[in-house]
């Protein structure tokens, strides 16, 4: 099986550790994952803001970059949702029958990480070790657009050492919403404030989710509040083992100070 990583533009530029974690995790599970160099972005920022014409070349880049792979794995519910549900809108707009056909054929090959692990590889215990108290926020697109259901929880429950606590009002949106976070910053922050409060109420050390953009929003609020809760992508927890855990004094997140020195 030829498997491609769609790392997503946000992870590529802002959260490379998530991409590295996916690579490490999939290799550990025996998957030889490739990173098609021509990939850029799924086009969602343009589509969700209403710039459909602008999204056409981006979607074209997407389908070209991932042509020929059996599975496209992405650590983002939102980007998987974009490929599966929005690319057809863009392709329709382009009036290009070739693009429409390519999109129709690429979407179904695109999997969000937890879907790929559980449905395609058939694993829930990925051999991870993460001895921390964790709560999980199901992001809206993974929950409602993709319907990943309880796959992420099943994966987390199988992680050794991990204590998973329920997040109150878990299914409520965190308020990120792409450009919504900027265009309606006040409402976005009001929603995020409630989400952050529910996270704090769990007493968890770590908030985990399948989308770094939502985590950047909630984590940015928790950080501003000095709440003492860090955010981590699901992939990073699933990639953790006894070995990596021993190397640091806590969960690995972000670019750490000494990483590249």
């Amino acid at each position: 099986m030829r498997v491609a990583l769609q790392v997503t533009c946000v992870n590529d530029a802002m959260f490379p550790d998530t991409g590295k974690a996916v690579v490490r995790l999939l290799r550990r599970l025996g998957v030889d994952v490739d990173f098609p160099r021509a990939q850029t972005c799924c086009g969602q920022p343009m589509v969700n803001t209403g710039y459909l014409d602008e999204a056409v070349p981006v979607v074209r880049t997407f389908v070209d970059a991932f042509a020929g792979y059996d599975a496209i794995v992405t650590p983002s519910g939102s980007c998987a949702g974009s490929a599966r549900h929005q690319h057809s809108i863009v392709a329709e707009r382009s009036g290009d029958a070739v693009l429409q056909a390519a999109v129709a054929e690429t979407g179904p090959r695109t999997y969000e990480l937890s879907e790929f692990l559980v449905d395609v590889l058939g694993v829930t215990d990925v051999g991870a070790y993460f001895p921390h108290r964790v709560t999980y926020h199901p992001t809206c697109h993974s929950l409602r657009m993709l319907g990943v259901g309880d796959r992420p929880q099943r994966l987390l429950e199988a992680v050794r050492g991990l204590t998973l606590v329920d997040l109150p009002h878990a299914t409520e949106c965190c308020g990120f919403g792409g450009t919504f976070a900027l265009k309606n910053a006040d409402t976005s922050v009001a929603m995020g404030a409630d989400k952050a409060r529910h996270v704090r109420d769990t007493g968890a050390e770590v908030l985990v989710a399948g989308d770094n953009s939502c985590l950047m929003h909630i984590g940015g609020m928790l950080s501003r509040q000095r709440a003492g809760v860090r955010v981590m992508h699901l992939a990073e927890i699933l990639a953790s083992t006894e070995e990596t855990e021993g190397e640091s004094d806590g969960p690995v997140v972000g670019e750490r100070a000494g990483d590249l020195a």
Partner: protein, 496 residues
């Protein structure tokens, strides 16, 4: 009389003001969570709910796609049943028809059943200008009308008011328009409902003309349906001599049996009940029972505009249950007034631009008043894919500005992003620039995220929107792409 939405600012500005209203926030959070739980419970009782939704969506979609035929059938059936049928292209025409009928009976007042269509056309203000008082008889509408307020919810227009505020409105305002509230009125909801009963009763008993809307209009039988709770609807539909119903053309269903999925879907989605207390159906004039002069005004007012929109057409399936408002995280926090329309919340965010177009700034701001979380679509009993229509309406807004001489900053940014995202080499170049910025930030920033990553606190300029309340992680010095190149996908060098 009640206020007006004319001149409302765009959503972000209106929302900012609403978000600062602590009592509003508390009232809305309480009310929306109460109704959410009730809905979830009675919907959970119906094992075949999804099949029922599909049937409901199908009934409405089928009616819309052959609307001209059904409207002609409806007209025929109504006339056969003794009703007078009028057609109104827009709000002005509809108001004029109602006013003419009322005037022909020499009345200076009418009683009204809550109706979104008559709110939409601003009927009360029009009648007032013609010297006719329009008494709202629904409890929540009464609260809004007495309080010189604006509706903020489809089902419960006074959802933004709590019991203490309602008591105050009744105590200070009821006397001016009829029977005053009792001196010892408490804020117990039952007592407040009792005061409304006493206040309205005299108006019901003397009214000659009533105005209603309709939840459904059945084409093949000429039957109108009003779904309600309090009995004020029954009063208006039964007691007066003359009944005028203003009905949006999208309310048509083809046949009597089509009411089945609708009457099962609506109450559970709306008030969270297995069935609402009262549903009235009537077909024209029933000799010896109820109004003996029955008028029906079929209203367009932008509906044909929405009908022509291939993506947006589905919004006309809406049965105004307001489930989408009740689950919407944006609505829950801003309330309905911020939407500047009688149709607030997720459905308002698509329906207003579909009915009116996006040429004014306020309406153009509505499709963006959503995080696209999808909770609305999940609960909508007629499966309106609101997030998709929101995105499509955003595209309509963007397209309406494509010929602007000076493009908006956002348009410039999106074009630049599209340019970078169209070629991975350009993206790699942009990432190197951002890595440089990250290096600078990491060196000088004193803020770190929990876990140790450098971050920016409050920043000026365009970043202020984000960093006003949220720390922003510093860009990493090396992108994923650069790492993959340097380590050959983690095979060599620093592999982790």
């Amino acid at each position: 009389m009640s206020g007006t939405f004319v001149g409302m600012p765009a959503f972000p500005t209106a929302a900012r003001a609403a978000l600062g209203n602590t009592q509003l926030r508390r009232n809305l959070a309480h009310a929306t969570h109460t109704i959410r739980d009730k809905r979830a419970q009675v919907v959970g009782e119906v094992e075949e709910w999804e099949a029922l939704r599909l049937a409901g969506a199908g009934v409405k979609e089928a009616a819309l796609r052959d609307l001209a035929t059904h409207l002609e059938t409806l007209e025929e059936s109504l006339i056969r049943a003794g009703a007078v049928v009028h057609w109104a292209r827009d709000a002005e025409e509809a108001c004029e028809i109602v006013a003419q009928v009322a005037k022909s009976h020499q009345v200076d007042e009418v009683v009204k059943v809550k109706s979104m269509a008559t709110l939409e056309i601003g009927l009360n203000d029009h009648l007032e200008r013609e010297g006719i008082a329009a008494w709202e008889t629904d409890l929540a509408e009464l609260i809004v009308q007495l309080g010189d307020d604006l509706p903020s919810h489809i089902l419960v227009p006074a959802i933004h008011r709590n019991r203490a505020e309602i008591r105050e409105i009744f105590r200070t305002r009821m006397a001016a328009s009829g029977r005053p509230a009792p001196d010892d009125l408490s804020d117990d909801p039952a007592a407040l409902a009792g005061a409304a009963r006493e206040h309205m009763r005299e108006k019901f008993l003397r009214a000659k003309v009533a105005v209603s809307g309709a939840n459904f209009a059945v084409a093949d039988t000429g039957t109108l349906v009003v779904v309600e709770s309090e009995g004020n609807g029954r009063m208006c539909l039964t007691l007066p001599e003359v009944l005028i119903s203003v009905v949006g053309i999208e309310k048509v269903v083809a046949t009597w049996s089509d009411l089945d999925p609708m009457l099962r879907l609506l109450p559970r989605s709306s008030t969270g009940e297995r069935m609402n207390p009262y549903t009235s159906t009537w077909s024209g004039v029933h000799p010896g029972d109820g109004p003996q002069e029955v008028h029906v005004v079929l209203l367009d007012n932008g509906r044909t505009r929405a009908l022509a929109d291939d993506v947006g057409r589905q919004a006309l399936r809406c049965i105004r249950c307001s489930a989408c408002l009740n689950v919407c995280p944006v609505y829950e926090r801003t309330g309905g007034h911020a939407y500047g329309s009688v149709y607030p919340g997720p459905i308002g965010a698509i329906l207003n631009p579909l009915l009116k177009g996006v040429s004014d700034e306020q309406t153009a701001s509505l499709p963006y008043a959503s995080s696209l979380c999808g909770a609305c679509f999940e609960v909508c009993p007629v499966r309106i894919d609101i997030p998709s229509v929101l995105v499509d309406q955003r595209a309509a807004v963007v397209d309406s500005h494509r010929d602007d001489r000076r493009p908006k900053a956002e348009a410039v940014a999106m074009k630049a992003a599209a340019w970078a995202f169209s070629d991975s080499r350009r993206l790699a170049w942009a990432e190197r620039a951002s890595g440089l910025a990250g290096r600078v930030m990491s060196r000088f920033s004193r803020t770190t995220l929990p876990g140790g990553r450098a971050a920016a606190g409050r920043l000026p300029g365009p970043a202020a929107g984000w960093t006003g309340a949220r720390d922003l992680p510093a860009p990493p010095e090396e992108s994923f792409r650069a790492w993959w190149d340097r380590t050959d996908g983690g095979q060599f060098g620093e592999g982790r």
